[in-house]
């Protein structure tokens, strides 16, 4: 009963929810911030108005017939039922209109496939359910996860302004430079879309696709995965920050320094408390989507960790499954996705949370040694 009341409350509460203050009644595509997206917008509007014009003529004649040739008004049916000339005309005229539509469309399309020299290459890899961005010329990369807290999704907390369109680590690009995206996927097909750029391309496992953009206006641009990729397809947004070139260079240096720091984290001596604290956060980003925040999982695809044989059993087996994944299941090999500190923290956390009281821990150094065994 209470659950139903809550649900009903949630439904009706929606009417007065702060959601509405941010919601808008936009009815059209936005022109976006790149040459391509503006071309697409113009094309979209051209075709739209052509359709409106055709619609006005056709529906106009139809409504006039409906109005003027009503039987109730004593209309007598005419007797014609064919006319070769009009039929040829209304085959040829649409054909001409279509050619008119196809010309700008062809030009825009060819421009979108311009593969000439780019300034920055970013590899985008789709995972269930997050994006990995690798700056291949600068040799660093990171994962970009949904940052919206699960309490907002389950309506236990007011929703933020960028609900479901916010990530922990956005992609950062400089303005005015040609950016080339190389897209692929790890598991299933994903699709990377930023509406403001006019870029949407599928990320296909085993294959590489490319797309490019040049953004002139600094800002934060948001999009989403647009190819059904499983359970959390709706929860893997794309966020791109376009910044000035100086800011970009500073950011790149920071990223390189951070990568260095992560290596130091591995060498550091960790206490159990530190690991558990880091583990809870890392678990929430990397594991909770499938195994759930309380470790209950979604059996059978995503088994429970609370009280599970792996999380309460031999620690070597636990490390193996987290680092190397489990072939034939949804359990990915996280060894290449997370740094040693996070891996150690997550494993330690899983063994000591939700009533799993194994009491042991694994340090980042041990994970490092495990990964580089022999």
């Amino acid at each position: 009963m209470r659950v139903h009341a809550q649900r009903a409350g949630a439904l009706f509460g929606g009417l007065s929810f702060p959601a509405l203050s941010v919601a808008d009644w936009t009815v059209n595509m936005t022109p976006g911030v790149t040459g391509t997206s503006n071309d697409i917008f113009d094309l979209h509007m051209t075709i739209f108005w052509i359709c409106v014009a055709i619609g006005v003529v056709v529906f106009g004649i139809m409504f006039w017939s409906i109005f003027a040739h009503r039987k109730s008004q004593g209309a007598k049916p005419a007797n014609f039922h064919e006319n070769t000339l009009v039929e040829i005309l209304w085959t040829l005229i649409p054909l001409v209109i279509l050619v008119i539509m196809a010309i700008p469309a062809t030009a825009t399309l060819i421009d979108m496939y311009d593969t000439t020299e780019s300034d920055i290459d970013i590899k985008v890899t789709g995972y269930q359910w997050k994006w990995q961005y690798e700056y291949i010329n600068e040799d660093f990369g990171y994962f970009s996860n949904l940052a919206t807290p699960s309490d907002q999704i389950s309506n236990r907390q007011a929703k933020g302004e960028n609900y479901l369109l916010e990530v922990d680590n956005p992609m950062v690009i400089p303005v005015g430079k040609k950016i080339r995206f190389l897209l692929t996927a790890n598991d299933v097909i994903h699709s990377w879309w930023v509406p403001d750029f006019g870029v949407k391309k599928d990320a296909i496992p085993g294959f590489i696709n490319e797309a490019w953009t040049r953004v002139d206006k600094p800002g934060t641009y948001r999009g989403q995965c647009t190819e059904l990729c499983g359970k959390d397809h709706g929860f893997m947004p794309v966020v791109v920050k376009a910044v000035s070139e100086e800011d970009y260079n500073t950011w790149v240096n920071q990223q390189i320094a951070m990568a260095e720091k992560e290596r130091e984290l591995t060498q550091k001596d960790w206490t159990m408390e530190e690991l558990l604290e880091r583990g809870e956060k890392a678990y929430a980003t990397a594991c909770a989507a499938c195994h759930q925040a309380d470790g209950s999982g979604v059996p059978p695809a995503f088994p429970a960790l609370r009280g599970s044989a792996v999380a309460t059993g031999d620690i070597a087996a636990h490390i193996d499954i987290v680092v190397n994944g489990k072939p034939g299941t949804a359990m990915q090999a996280f060894g290449g996705q997370l740094n040693e500190a996070d891996l150690a923290a997550i494993i330690t956390y899983e063994r000591n949370a939700w009533g799993n009281k194994v009491g042991d821990m694994v340090t980042p150094k041990e994970i490092f040694d495990y990964k580089n065994a022999q």
């Binding site: 311009d114 593969t115 000439t116 692929t184 790890n186 598991d187 496992p205 489990k326």
Partner: protein, 196 residues
């Protein structure tokens, strides 16, 4: 069953003929569905769509490099799901003159405690360049076994065709490394990737 007696014998023969033709078409279209698999591969080979680079290239004429032109070839490597190997190109990219044979290598390491077999699947972007990218030697032609803890450098020898369209200045070659299981099992497993 009275309905059937209504139809004249002539119609019945005719029905049999129509049904026969229809069933033949159904069988044909079912086969066509499967035929699309090899047809698609042939189509890809001819047009180069999808970035599937073709098999071992054997050149009859001695290629002369076009020294005036430089093309950047970029290498990417990633692992398939559940693949714990370390896998990366030794050099991130290389500038080549169309026509010359270039040797590069990829580093692979099996950090796990079990013997494994890997198979690299190539993909090239832009796909238009696929037709002009020739591999004379590639680790992706064969499966790669690695014992527990073992590492190796895997060679790739390629030639960028002198006919590469002039608007293409950069080619990206990407390899995805897939786990093919235990070595023994893998021997009997598919070797269909001879055109990898």
């Amino acid at each position: 069953m009275v309905e059937q007696t209504v139809a004249a014998p002539a119609t019945q023969r005719s029905n049999a003929r129509v049904v026969g033709w229809c069933l033949a078409s159904v069988a044909g279209m079912f086969a066509f569905g499967f035929a699309m698999v090899p047809l698609y591969d042939v189509f890809c080979d001819i047009t180069g769509i999808n970035g599937k680079t073709s098999g071992r290239y054997v050149s009859s004429d001695v290629a002369v490099a076009d020294m005036k032109r430089t093309v950047k070839v970029q290498f990417l490597a990633q692992n398939g799901p559940d693949m714990p190997w370390v896998f990366r190109p030794v050099s991130r990219s290389v500038d080549v003159h169309p026509g010359e044979a270039i040797t590069v290598s990829f580093y692979a390491e099996n950090p796990t405690g079990r013997d494994m077999v890997g198979q690299a699947v190539p993909s090239l972007s832009p796909s238009e360049g696929t037709l002009y990218f020739h591999k004379t030697e590639c680790f992706c032609f064969n499966q790669q076994p690695l014992a527990a803890g073992e590492n190796t450098e895997m060679p790739l020898v390629f030639i960028v065709d002198r006919d590469l369209p002039s608007h293409i200045t950069k080619l990206t070659l990407s390899y995805t490394l897939y786990d093919q299981g235990e070595p023994q099992a893998a021997v009997f497993k598919t070797t269909t990737i001879d055109n990898g």
